[in-house]
Symmetry: C2
Subunit: 151 residues, 2 copies
Amino acid sequence: MDTDIGFKAALEEAKQGASEGGVPIGACLVSAEGKILGRGHNMRIQKGSATIHAEISALENAGRLPASAYKGATMYTTLSPCDMCTGACILYKVKRVVLGENKTFVGGEEHLQRKGIEVVNLKNAECEELMKKFVEERPGDWYEDIGEGSK
Amino acid sequence: MDTDIGFKAALEEAKQGASEGGVPIGACLVSAEGKILGRGHNMRIQKGSATIHAEISALENAGRLPASAYKGATMYTTLSPCDMCTGACILYKVKRVVLGENKTFVGGEEHLQRKGIEVVNLKNAECEELMKKFVEERPGDWYEDIGEGSK
């Protein structure tokens, strides 16, 4: 079992988002057995959506599942999860959140840990680069996505 | 300005959800000026969705908005918000969450307050009754919605 399939898929999703002109963040939910349950990317620009962040997209694409399906699961995401996506991981009680980077943005990592969810930061340069470019080129879209005014 | 329009709309949404055979929870996001920005209801059953809870639905139906649009806003919901919906309210920094009841389920109320968001519980009998009936008749669907095994 290769646990890296989740991060690889999340990064592919982030790049797909970038190629669509969207916020370049991807995510992938992997079961305890190492099976991809769902993957997706941020759809703010593509769908005019305020809620389809990458992790929400991955959970949504996984479809309706019983609580048992999330047991021992890992949420891979290319960026530290915002408060909403943090809450979604807590709701479904995933075991672990593996994030690509938190240099661009630090989300609910402490809250995840407080709830007993393991947090791993890969400090991945490709994830950082995707976000650096996006924030520099389109600060308005980025700050809107995290509920902040443009800076 | 009638601040009750938000709760009225949320309750209508919950009843609409019930009439569709869905989880009977509704929500409505109202701006500081008293304008309805978005309203919606839980779509787990109707759309096979793991993420379209009532508050997410209201935020999604409000569409893409700048951070300023949420300033001073109130999220009305017929039930105490789960961790995901709590996080969504924190992400967009609404001022207040008004909930119909928390007898059926207590969500992230403390976390909201910790983040400086006011929480008001209306202890509404109609909201309680809608959920009581649903949980009694369809416990499996209900526990799935809150990420719990059937009890």
